[in-house]
């Protein structure tokens, strides 16, 4: 059933509402053009995510996005070829940001099992903190089409590589064939299930069970490496 034009129920505390700081003062502000363009781009991407969260991808016209961003259509098309390109850039930014957080978690002390735990915790808490953003990028990605699905596969591979790194860090041996890819896909689906049901607040509570499952798949000794 199409949701075009119909607003979705609001979610709590998703941090997606436009912040008060991004919009530049009107009139002559003397800022360098690069800074103006960067500010406009950020506002458009933020507005795109918020608009899709509210109306779905199909219901998020460029008109709605620019209205929310407080920019003109001309400004939008100076920055992006179309709505799809804007979505793909927003998707890459969101996924890149999440993956950066997960990589940072691997740098924390605690041994392989502990680092894996930090990585999973970071992932669960980040998604739980942004339920509408999670819907925008995990559910609406299906409405965007093949270019978005290709990006999803690429980011999933990066996530799998992170998990694989955890397995290698444990004893230096590679993970079983396809184990990291299969595990990444299974974790993604488990998170997606909660996002679809509007139960993202449950995600942090899955940490211990998820961690023990990953340890088992990679044949960690949880006793030897306490988390």
């Amino acid at each position: 059933m199409s949701e075009r034009g119909r607003a979705r129920p609001a979610a709590r505390g998703d941090g997606l509402e436009p912040r008060s700081d991004p919009q530049l003062p009107s009139g002559r502000h003397g800022l360098p053009r690069e800074e103006v363009l960067s500010n406009q781009r950020e506002r458009i991407l933020r507005a795109l995510a918020a608009t899709i969260a509210r109306y779905g991808y199909d219901g998020s016209s460029v008109e709605r996005i620019v209205k929310r961003a407080g920019v003109s259509r001309r400004t939008f098309y100076e920055q992006f070829a179309d709505r799809e390109q804007a979505y793909l850039e927003a998707y890459d930014e969101a996924a890149g940001c999440l993956l950066e957080r997960l990589r940072a978690a691997w740098e924390e002390p605690g041994g392989g099992a502990g680092q894996l735990r930090q990585c999973l915790r970071s992932m669960l808490e980040t998604v739980a903190a942004e339920p509408r953003l999670a819907r925008t990028f995990m559910i609406d990605v299906l409405a965007v089409g093949p270019p978005a699905l290709e990006r999803r596969e690429r980011h999933m591979r990066s996530f799998a590589a992170l998990l694989e790194r955890g397995a290698r860090a444990h004893d230096g041996s590679p993970a079983p064939p396809l184990a990291a890819d299969g595990l990444a896909a299974a974790i993604y689906e488990a998170v997606l299930t909660r996002v679809s049901r509007g139960q993202t607040e449950e995600l942090p509570g899955l940490l211990e069970d998820l961690h023990s499952f990953c340890l088992m798949i990679f044949h960690y000794s949880a006793v030897a490496e306490p988390s």
Partner: protein, 139 residues
């Protein structure tokens, strides 16, 4: 895999009927298996056999489910009832999340194989994957 199928209402309805048959079969075999792993193994083998009997269903179950929201919802409903059946019929079942992740891993692993080959893996190869993941489980 070259096959493509549109998830039109008729194809989707046929796929859902396939899932219903799988579920019905699972109800019959899960309780009587000696272990929860064996019960899932039987259910998954029956599911794979059912999907392989219809190229459209196979395509929807393993490929379109990652691309089409209506197919994804149909498979998610089926997965949820299968997990619920496991939890209700097997006292020795793993935690719900472990069972969910195991099913997810098995599905993803078969999906990679289906997507990367001209023909889907035969039943023996698929069962080898089920067995490796299920019987290695040491939760």
């Amino acid at each position: 895999m070259r096959h493509t199928a549109q998830a039109d209402p008729d194809t989707l309805a046929a796929y859902e009927r396939s899932l219903d048959r799988v579920y019905q079969h699972s109800r019959e075999v899960m309780a009587s298996a000696p272990t929860w792993q064996a019960s899932l193994y039987r259910a998954l083998s029956a599911c794979y056999l059912e999907m392989c009997s219809d190229p459209d269903a196979l395509y929807l179950h393993f490929i379109a489910t990652a691309q089409d929201s209506s197919v994804a919802r149909a498979r998610a409903r089926h997965r949820d009832r299968l997990l619920s059946l496991l939890s209700v019929t097997r006292e020795d079942a793993p935690t719900p999340l472990h069972a969910e992740l195991l099913l997810g891993m098995i599905h993803a692993t078969i999906r990679f194989q289906v997507a990367s080959q001209e023909d889907p893996p035969d039943l023996d190869a698929a069962e080898q994957t089920f067995a490796t993941l299920l019987f290695d489980y040491d939760g």
